[in-house]
């Protein structure tokens, strides 16, 4: 299936990337904008969870709503 193929491809790219040393192209002192509180995929956890609940109850699709972690390591 298309989605599985894409995921496997991304996974293979990650493995290949991990084999080489990667220089950070955005230095820690350049992350002020990334650390801005308006740069969050989900700004309010309790509200975001509720909206996903609302959509999930009325739509056939489910999953991959995000919020599994992440961020920019800039706090």
């Amino acid at each position: 299936m298309l989605i599985r193929r894409i995921v496997i491809l991304v996974g293979m790219l990650l493995v290949l990337t991990a084999c080489s040393s990667v220089e950070p192209w955005v230095k820690p002192y350049e992350r002020a904008n990334l650390a801005d509180e308006i740069m969050q995929f989900q700004r309010d956890p309790v509200s975001a969870t509720y909206m996903i609940h609302v959509y999930g109850a009325r739509e056939g699709a489910r999953g991959a709503e995000g919020g599994h972690g992440g961020g920019c390591g800039c706090n």
């Binding site: 950070p24 309790v46 709503e65 972690g69």
Partner: protein, 394 residues
């Protein structure tokens, strides 16, 4: 308390109470704590009141979330959530009687940080008068490549028991499993990107014990009759989402999201969302957003089957039909404590409103009994979703 049921069924619209549980159990655990790997979430408490009103259904209730660092490397969290449901939806008014019910959910979680990794575990219990769900979730997220990349993986297991209010002997099980993989990447000093994949497998009694499918019946005055829905007892789905957020040259951010979904029931769905966040005046932040969702119907869905027992699986749940949903919304936030007050570091009050338009392409409005069977107008409805919540950081 429910109103006295008519003959056919009590709660065709456990549609709202039943179906959302399936997702609630799997989804709600993960979503509360968007901590970056290597950074535990701050101590905070949120008290939210939510209201949904649309399609004859009203759902209100509170949600309370508390996160507390008990050690430097350990955060525990608790969430209390209630849905108070009053339903006279299209299914209910055409096949049953309006009813009221309540669902209560408790979640306990812990996040443990070790070097650049955070390990998470949580447990959720959800209960209503005809459905119980227990869910356990585990996950790990890691920062790598000089904190440019965060990888997250998770596994969730759910055990549900499906009941029936007018039949105490009815009890069926559902087992659920979910696998998640997430990647967040710093793209530039102004841009982040996130990719999430989730596979969910369900096994057990997956249809609504109350709902019926309709079929052509020349012997009926309306031209159709009803038979119980029959769904497959397994369902496996894949969802892949990509999100990007960009910091604009002035202090504002723009977010874009795309998700594609398919499952073994034949549903293919996509949604697209854009959002804009902008601090307006001192202490005030505005967010505007638009979301578009579309899906095709499940293989065994039909608004009107040609005859009784026409195929192995039959379903007439409008959430399995072909439809679109457009949502337009905004949030206004105001920091009423910005520089600390006693033990509170910061406090904000927020109001959020979303308007939804659902348009169905193959689900008909059976309230029109003058039309011939299958010739009724297509169903559509709109809904108002409002939230007011207070957040404090301490």
């Amino acid at each position: 308390m429910r109103a006295a049921p008519k003959v056919v069924m009590v709660g065709a619209v456990a549609v709202t109470s039943f179906r959302h549980l399936q997702l609630a159990g799997l989804c709600m655990l993960w979503l509360g704590f968007p901590a970056g790997a290597g950074v535990l979430p701050d101590d905070r408490a949120d008290a939210l009141y939510h209201s949904y009103d649309g399609g004859g259904v009203t759902i209100t209730g509170p949600s309370i979330l508390v996160l507390k660092n008990v050690r430097q490397d350990l955060v525990i969290s608790g969430n209390y959530y209630v849905d108070s449901i009053s339903s006279a939806s299209i299914d209910v008014v055409t096949q049953a009687s309006p009813y009221e019910e309540e669902r209560t959910e408790y979640t306990l979680g812990a996040d443990y940080m070790h070097n650049n990794s955070i390990m998470s575990a949580s447990y959720t219990s959800s209960d209503e008068n005809d459905y119980e769900a227990q869910t356990a979730s585990f996950g790990i997220s890691m920062d790598m490549f000089a904190n440019m990349t965060t990888v997250a993986m998770g596994y969730t297991r759910g055990w549900d028991v499906v009941g029936k209010v007018n039949d105490p002997s009815f009890s069926e099980n559902v087992d659920r499993q979910s696998y998640t993989l997430g990647l967040t990447q710093v793209i530039t000093k102004d841009m982040l990107m996130e990719v999430n994949y989730e596979a969910i497998t369900d096994e057990g009694f997956l249809n609504n014990p109350y709902r019926s499918a309709r079929f052509l019946d020349p012997d009926s005055a309306l031209g159709y009759s009803y038979e119980p829905e029959v769904y497959p007892d397994t369902r496996t789905s894949n969802a892949l989402a990509i999100r990007s957020i960009y910091h604009l040259p002035f202090r504002a951010s723009a977010l874009a999201e795309y998700r594609i979904y398919n499952d073994t029931w034949g549903i293919l769905a996509q949604n697209f969302k854009v959002a804009f966040v902008r601090p307006v005046i001192s202490g005030w932040v505005f967010e505007g957003r638009y979301r578009y969702y579309t899906q095709n119907s499940a293989d065994f869905y039909s608004d009107l089957f040609p005859r009784r027992d026409s195929q192995n699986f039959v379903g007439r749940d409008k959430e399995l039909s072909t439809f679109t949903n457009n949502t337009l919304g905004f949030t206004m936030s105001f920091d009423f404590i910005r520089n600390g007050w006693h033990w509170i570091d910061r406090g904000s009050i927020n109001f959020s409103y979303d308007h939804m338009w659902f348009d169905y392409a193959d689900f008909r409005d059976l309230r029109d009994t003058s039309a011939p069977a299958g010739g009724e107008p297509l169903y559509s409805f709109s809904a108002d979703v409002a939230q007011i919540f207070v957040s404090i950081w301490f």
